[in-house]
Symmetry: C2
Subunit: 326 residues, 2 copies
């Protein structure tokens, strides 16, 4: 198969496609012929050498999600058959024409969704749902705050909150505020250095129940000041800095929870449990059109370096998809 194999780390130019060996399915695995993958911030970090695949797989093929068609199944596989339309998350290996994966991590693609668009679903909807609902405890009637509202996770978070009867505030750049309102945010706040904390406090003096933060850095104390008593902050990234001066007194006064999370490093049983629960609780809403992948752009596989440049320009709204097969 053809795949992006990292022989060195650096700028987008290190992303070159070459011929490598096909994966074979283990007894509980399926092989998926990949239609499309999609970009994540972690891919950029991995490309630069800062965030290796935790499995230490050689050769190093990046790519953390896929959509495609099952092309082979292991001897014990019961959930899938050859030809099934599927999608899912991986710790790596999806910048490729094929991937082998445990059958219980795999998600069905609802018939209403085109396979190429389905690549825009797994990482951001699993991340946003796990952070807001599973770990954050977001329910009907409550308010969430999501930073980087126009990002993939932000656009997924807005849809999920609305779908379960919750409300959502988002921060984003001035240029993206209109798009966030159109995508369903109940309250759109201009991001820092604008004083979003003051604007949020004006609307919600008692704070919000759940905060999903991918930014970190100086936003952390603003999160602690903006969370409601007994609320939950879920830290999904630290794009603005991982080490920061924190007012721990606020965490205590609010009797709040602050949870660090990543999907990538989790063991198989946790990923499988999350996939099965997502199948039960979220996939039906894609089937009925309540939830929709938000695709910013689709690049052909050969232009994957260009796709990375687009992500680094921070101009996207929703997911950057890379189509690998027609």
């Amino acid at each position: 198969m053809r795949a992006v194999v990292l022989h060195s780390h650096g700028g987008p130019e290190v992303l070159t496609i070459e011929e490598t060996s096909d994966p074979a399915p283990g007894p509980d695995e399926v092989v998926v012929d990949i239609t499309a993958t999609a970009l994540n911030r972690a891919d950029v970090l991995q490309r630069m050498g800062h965030y290796p695949d935790p499995r230490g797989v050689v050769p190093e093929i990046p790519g953390m999600e896929y959509s495609g068609t099952v092309s082979a199944i292991g001897a014990r596989v019961t959930l899938w058959k050859v030809g099934d339309r599927v999608m899912g998350i991986e710790a790596g290996g999806c910048y490729a024409e094929k991937v082998a994966t445990h059958e219980r991590q795999v998600l069905a693609v609802p018939t209403a969704i085109e396979l190429v668009d389905a690549a825009a679903i797994p990482e951001v909807f699993l991340t946003a749902w796990d952070a807001l609902v599973v770990q954050g405890g977001l329910t009907s009637g409550r308010w969430a705050l999501v930073h980087a509202g126009a990002s993939g996770v932000g656009t997924a978070g807005m849809q999920i909150a609305s779908a379960i009867g919750a409300s959502i505030a988002v921060t984003c750049s001035a240029a993206k505020m209109e798009a966030c309102a159109a995508l369903g945010a109940d309250l759109v706040l201009e991001r820092s250095p604008h004083d979003w904390q003051r604007d949020l406090k004006a609307a919600h003096p008692n704070g919000v129940d759940v905060i999903l933060d991918v930014v970190g850095g100086d936003e952390i104390n603003r999160n602690l000041a903006s969370i409601a008593v007994n609320g939950t902050i879920v830290q999904v990234g630290t794009m603005a800095g991982a080490t920061t001066q924190v007012n721990v007194g606020l965490l205590m006064m609010k009797r709040a929870r602050w949870i660090g999370t990543t999907l990538r490093g989790r063991p198989l049983e946790q990923k499988a449990a999350l996939a099965r629960r997502f199948s039960a609780e979220m996939l039906p809403l894609f089937a009925t059109g309540v939830l929709k992948p938000v695709v910013d752009s689709i690049y052909p596989f050969e232009q994957i370096a260009e796709a990375h440049r687009h992500m680094e320009a921070n101009a996207n709204i929703g997911k950057i998809v890379v189509q690998i097969a027609p």
Copy 2:
């Protein structure tokens, strides 16, 4: 009744006893004739003017726990009758001969326990159990770490961990290490500036499942480095400083939870729920002698200022009790 009424804030000398009006029970309340109260770090902060009673009650009577005898009951009270031996936590008002409190916050004193010793139970056992078990999720087979092992919360935490089949490591000063081992700690670590983190790592390379921290400050990053993947840190105090430089990347890598908590600021329904659950899960272990209050010393009411000086000297092992009535 006689009570300590704070007319000003400052050193132990502001703790003077005077005559003030008796409390009357509301319809769901009982009045307790207090046998003894016990000191908490928060009392020292309140005395200095840094931690007022969140209810803003006037006159300001400190004291956050009591043991005693029910002397009057409100019209709707069903759980208690006059003469019952009881104990409990309050947001304030226990440096006094009487206190009125909602019946569902009140705990029975097991017959095996002397009333004066029972005053050493409520705050530290509720705090340690809530932090380690209810919020931290400590179970049989798992390891906890508790800082300030010889403190009231530390000595309660050791007993609770042992009683539920868990193991516990504690940090304490070199002078208190022997006492902590005798009180049941499974691993005793000399506290900072000694490198306890290295010693703990040698014994538990994968970290501990739950950390109860009353210290904060520089211990916070050591906690994050010492917590196991998917573990929980419960922040019960920040004696060494509330604001500190935190490596949030560790929180994410560990996929850990960091929970801020206080008992004092909680609303009635949460305090009542905790008291009822504690009655079901912990009181039977006092009745059988598995759990025991650890009393450092008992001061007469008239020497309450001296009791405060003793707490500030940090030489106590277990609780400092103040006896109000024979």
